[in-house]
Amino acid sequence: MSVMPSSRTAAAAATKADAGGSGGGLWTDVWKRFRRNPIALAGFYVVCLLAFIALFADFLANDKPYYLRYKNKTYFPIFRSYMVGTKLGQWPAELLNVEFKKLEGAKAVFPPIRYRATNINLLEPLEPPSSKHWFGTDKLGRDIVAGMVHGARISLSIGFVAVGIAVIIGIVLGAIAGYFGSWIDLVISRVFEIMLSIPTFFLLITVAALLPPSIFLTMAIIGMTSWVGMARFTRNEFLRIRNLDYVTAAIALGVTNRKVMFKHILPNALAPVIVSVVLGIAGAILVESSLSFLGIGVPAELVTWGSILQEASTTTFAWWLAVFPGFAIFITVLAYYLVGEGLREVLDPRLRGLR
């Protein structure tokens, strides 16, 4: 039951944007005001931290060391594995399929978490948190911390890509509808109505349950079912801005439609969309965890926050399986939500006036 910001506040935000002139001036102004809100700022730092974790997951949790000195030769296994993976390199014979942790007479520097998310160890199933496994293990002995780190990467990429898809579809359709008006608008608005009327979660379950599980598919379908809000904002903005003087002037001067839409109007119409994007990422992460929980959408070999939670629901004594991933989803969603709300407050002049 989430609610989109009202079109009136969004319109007000856009007015401010127009008055601000070029993009640069507005955004530094936004950042300055944003920084004054401690809660939103905290959210922002969390978002950055999560992004860092997601990007550098392989360096934070891996069963290969950064640096290895073995038989008087130096190696950098993690980098090497990237090279082999992209077919740019090979494993030297002595390191082929070897267990780095058990290498005799070797000096190695390992990442802080010495496991990959998918390392199975049947001898240590369902262990509670300990010094060896900080967050415990799941039923196959997979380390939960590693699972959380790599899961962050999966959740965030699903969130970003899904919302990215939604943004592209939404902005393009909304721009066309708002700019050209008349019957084009009528038809596209009907499309909006159709998409709104489709029961999204039901559709998601249907598609995810029926097609073979894959992350890309999940990203795509979440994206394709959540673009309508952004489309509507864009449309409303375009409808409004199109009648402003500078646009009329540009058209009179003979600027092509495409240039008018995307160079002149769009940058000023983006404000409400930005807020939707941030909230959309949070929403996508929640949806992904629900799908994983139901056992659909993400392939079996991947460990995601939602898949760990699903195991938690059937293994209720293993509280560590529920607490940590659930908390991770919670913190992530909360952080994005706070940032989104902070942005909304900053971009909406009417509320600022009352402060």
């Binding site: 077919k87 049947l122 369902l126 029926l210 392939p299 079996a300 059937t314």
Partner: protein, 590 residues
Amino acid sequence: MFAKPWRVMVALLVMFGCGDKTEVKVADAPPTASAKEAGRPMTGDWLVIHSLSDPEVLNPLTSSDSASSEVNGYIFEGLLTREPRTLAIKPYIAVARPEISPDKLTYTFKIRQDVRFQDGRPLTGEDVLFSVKAIKCPFVNAPFLRVYFNSLVDAELVDPYTIRFVTKEPYFLNETVLGGITMLPRHYYDPQNLLRQVTVRQLSEDPAKLPAEVKQFGEQFNRNYNRSPLGSGPYKFAGWKTGREIELRRDRDYWGTGIEGIDQPHVERLKFRVVNNMDAALIRLKSGSLDFMEALQPVQSVRGTHSERFKREFKKYEYFAPTFSYIGWNNDHPIFRDKRVRQAMTYMTNRKQIVKSVLFGLGEVVDSPIYLFRPEYDKNLKIYPFDPQKGLALLREAGWQDSDGDGILDKVIDGRKTPLRFEIKINSGNAVRESVALVLMDELRKHGIAASVRQLDWTIFLNDVKNHQFDAMVLGWAMSTTEPDGYQIWHSSQAANKGSNAISYKNPRVDDILEEYRREFDEQKRIQLYKAFQEILNDEQPYTFLFASKRVSAVQRRFEGVEVFPDGLRPIDWWVPAARQKYVDKITAN
């Protein structure tokens, strides 16, 4: 105006949260006395059985799921049954085992004259004949049941209580099949007697030539008899709240009451309560709203059921179910055509550890497709222990090595360099098989084999399996405790037409054994044949046989007469002494 809602909310919370619980709480029962001390079996009380899902329909012939067969098992009866302890064939509705003609093609059954249906009407040969016709009717939605009767070509009444069946070819299991025909009351399932004129022989032939009444019967049967079964068994259907509960009540006029050899019902009501979520089911068991859970999950039986309180109120029973899990290698696949590769895979599967860790020890490694407690199971098969080095040696012997340093073994097959890369397919919804596949994948990857796991929705998975669209797959078979017959799975003819031989296993010697086995009516000779059969399979490893799992059931301690049989538990035998009965029927007189 808006201060009030807070008060209302508080009031509501109080009301909701502290309502007195209307469910009956179980008093702490004393430890179970032995059957002799507790007294003789008596009627009374209810048994609340956990059901994981709602049956689709309660139609005795068209239902295809286990939930409905469980319920129907109390409502309907057959000509023959199996003695619970020895699994020997025993007559039930029939007076004795059938007379079999010397050419093994004709079976003559004499039935009892004192059997009544639950509405009081007597059961006669006419009902038996009708039951057979209903199965053979091609318009009844029961294709999988009908297949078993493909060999039955004719049936006719010799006299009102004697019926004769004629089969196409000799097959020692025909007796079991015929004995299992569900006795349906003709007056209820075919009130207009639409099937009167048609004969079983006609039903075995071209459906297009059948008269219109037969089609009409089929349609009516499929549509109108799904929620109100009526049979001759000890429990009557008493109600179905969809998605929640099915209730059966003991038939106080049961024809078999007091008759030796017929199962006597004791519990007044059987309630099958649907709880889709296993965790919620265990919680309901502990809180008293379920009495019997037939299949605890391995993790539940090991961890969630050890408190003192639980042990005081429930008893757990561990026993083997006649199922086994396996990894099926596509024997037509270029990589798996070579039996050394298959053997290597088996050496690289840590089956013992999987049973210990994934099944929590509730199972046993098996090496053959036969149920391990059957006499046919060969206990002297060569074992394949977990030995990855031996597996790698076998692979090397078969020509696999890492020639390009990318960490993955490869070999030149049919002129092309092929990496040892394949996909293991599994279905979604089964945690154990998923774990097996992941464990295997992880182990193989450590040794340079690029295995991956692909999880598919059940119907898609089945489709791929039937069409042989897989490299490897993890699946299981559920059999019965009665005599095995490997023809369906292992005969080369079953590899075509989407048959059960999905791995395309073709071995002419095995074919011969399987065919001879079916014709053999002497049990000892059959056992010898199957020993040879299992030895071949053990050498060729067309499947990597994994394990037979144990089932763990939990039963509330107030029930007496609970015993584990080869076929599992038999709730029909259970009863509760008067002092411990929990639910009382308010119905007074008979």
